[in-house]
Symmetry: C2
Subunit: 122 residues, 2 copies
């Protein structure tokens, strides 16, 4: 059983919008990501996605509903199929929880923003 | 999309060893629990279980391996089928992540410690 220190995990990489794998269980993955600025609009057709803000502030823009604002210590789940755009005003440290294999850009193609999930050791 | 504030979630109940449901996604559940003292030895035959300590300290005793100590900001996954006993020295606020329907006492019967997972609104 590995022990993961969340603060230390965020110290191991600098790249924004490139989630790192922190833990795997039950076919799901816990990832850590640094977010800054606006991402691309996308959805995950088959995956609910949990955002948990550890540090900073994150806005989840939604096409069909008002934006949601998450501060440090707050989390929310974007349901499968719901188009969303995460926007961080400044640097935000965020934990993601979603099925293994979920791509960061979901169904959005040709954005140049798709990243493989790297392990924290890379 | 509901926004859950983790600190506020822990303010909504006092009972120890009785997880509350904070979020559901992909057939999994994020629960918050207050732990104090020693729980019962048990395993979850089909469920990996993530422990994430938000406040306090938690020891995960394992039959076949050295104990693991988790402080605030640290997490670990107990694999399915691995017998374990959580022990909190003082009050620990912990987030659990596991498949929906996972019982707190797993395969341990007759302990008197099994609790239904209540919603935070109860």
């Amino acid at each position: 059983m590995d022990v993961v220190d969340i603060d230390a995990a965020f110290e191991r990489f600098e790249e924004t919008w490139s989630p790192r794998l922190a833990a795997s269980l039950n076919g799901q993955e816990l990832k850590v990501a640094k977010l800054e600025g606006a991402f691309v609009w996308h959805s995950h057709p088959d995956a609910d996605e949990l955002f948990w803000v550890i540090e900073g502030d994150l806005t989840i823009e939604l096409r069909e509903e008002p934006d949601r604002h998450l501060s440090a210590g707050q989390l929310g789940v974007v349901p499968a199929g719901v188009e969303h755009r995460p926007v961080a005003d400044g640097l935000a440290k965020v934990v993601l929880f979603e099925p293994a294999g979920t791509e960061n850009t979901g169904d959005a193609e040709g954005t140049g923003r798709t990243r493989e999930v790297e392990s924290l050791e890379d």
